[in-house]
C-alpha cells in the first residue's frame, strides 16, 4: 500500500462502468430472446430446407427476426438469394 496504489486506483476508475455497459448489452440480448417463440430455430431450418430444394443457399442466407410491439408481432424473414447460376432446376 503506498502512493503508487493510490494513483493506480484512481486510474482504474471505471470498472463499474465496464460492468454496466456489458450488462446492458447482455440483458437487452437476453430479453429479446425471451419473448421469442421457441419454434423459431426450427422454422428457420425448415424454411431453409425448402429453399435449398430450388436454390443453393447456405444457413447464413436466411435470417428470421421476431419483434413484439404493443398490439402485434412481426415475423420477418430475410432471404439473400445468390447470383444467377446457382439455381438447382
Amino acid at each position: 500500500m503506498g502512493l503508487l496504489d493510490y494513483f493506480r486506483s484512481t486510474q482504474s476508475k471505471g470498472s463499474a462502468n465496464v460492468a454496466k455497459e456489458r450488462l446492458q448489452i447482455l440483458v437487452a440480448h437476453d430479453r429479446a430472446a425471451r419473448g421469442r417463440p421457441s419454434y423459431l430455430p426450427k422454422l428457420q431450418q425448415e424454411i431453409l430446407d425448402v429453399i435449398r430444394k430450388y436454390v443453393d443457399v447456405d444457413m447464413n442466407a436466411v435470417s428470421v427476426n421476431y419483434e413484439q410491439e404493443e398490439a402485434h408481432e412481426i415475423l420477418e424473414l430475410n432471404i439473400v438469394l445468390p447470383e444467377a447460376g446457382h439455381s438447382r432446376l
Binding site: 463499474a16 454496466k20 456489458r22 450488462l23
Partner: protein, 269 residues
Amino acid sequence: MARIIVITSGKGGVGKTTSAASLAMGLAQRGRRTAVIDFDVGLRNLDLIMGCERRVVYDFVNVINQEATLNQALIRDKRCDHLYVLPASQTRDKDALTREGVARVLDELAQGFEFIVCDSPAGIEHGALMAMYFADDALVVTNPEVSSVRDSDRMLGILSSKSKRAEEGAEPIREYLLLTRYDPLRVDQGDMLSVDDVKEILSLNLIGIIPESKAVLSASNAGIPVILDRDSDAGQAYADMVARYLGEDVPHRFLEAEKKGFLSRLFRG
C-alpha cells in the same frame, strides 16, 4: 387472504436466506402473523439462520407426504410469537416438492397467517420454481456485481412466464429489487455498480439497500436474524425494507461512504 412472498435470486450466496429471515422477523415483530418456509430441500439453512436448528422434528416434505401435520412441523420462534418456521427436509430428493403438495401446504398456511415468506434455493431447478410458482410478491435479491445482476434478470423472466399468476393471466407478481452487500465506498471509487446502475439495468422497484456489514456474519453465527441487531447498519436497513414493504415511505439510507478521518486513512489504507 395471506400474501405469499418469494425471496429469489438465481445466483447463490447473495443473501436470500438472510433476507428471508429478516423480512419474516420484521413482519412478525409488527404484529403480523408470518410463516417462513425453507424451499431448499437437501440443503436446509433457514433453521440455522433463525437459530431453531435443534428444534426441528418434522419438515416441509413430511407435511407434503402427510407424515406429519402442519402444526407438528411448524416451529414457533422463541423471540416473537407471531413468527413460525417451516424447515426444509435435509435428506429426501427434491422431487418431493410436488406442485399439489406445495399448494396444499400454502393453502393451509393461508388460513392462519397473513404473510408466507418462501426462501428459495439458488438456481432455476425444481425447488426454486416451486418457491416462486405461487408467489404474489417477489423480492429479487441482487448483489451489485455482473453475474448476480444477470441472474436476477433471468429470474424476472421466469417470474413473468412460469408463475401461477402468469399461467392464469392474473395480475402479475409484484417484483421488487433488494440490493445486498452494497459498499458505498467502492461505488464512490467507481469499482462497484451503483444503486442507480442496477435499477436502470433491471428496471425494478427498489425495496431496500443492505450495506455490506460485519453484523450479517455475526448474526448468522449466533442464529439471530440480523434485523434484531438494531444497532447495526444492516439491521436498520432491513427494518426500513420491511416498513417499505408494508407501504411506508421511508428514504433509503447507507448510500454514502463513511467519511474516513485522515489518521484512519493513513493507518488502514
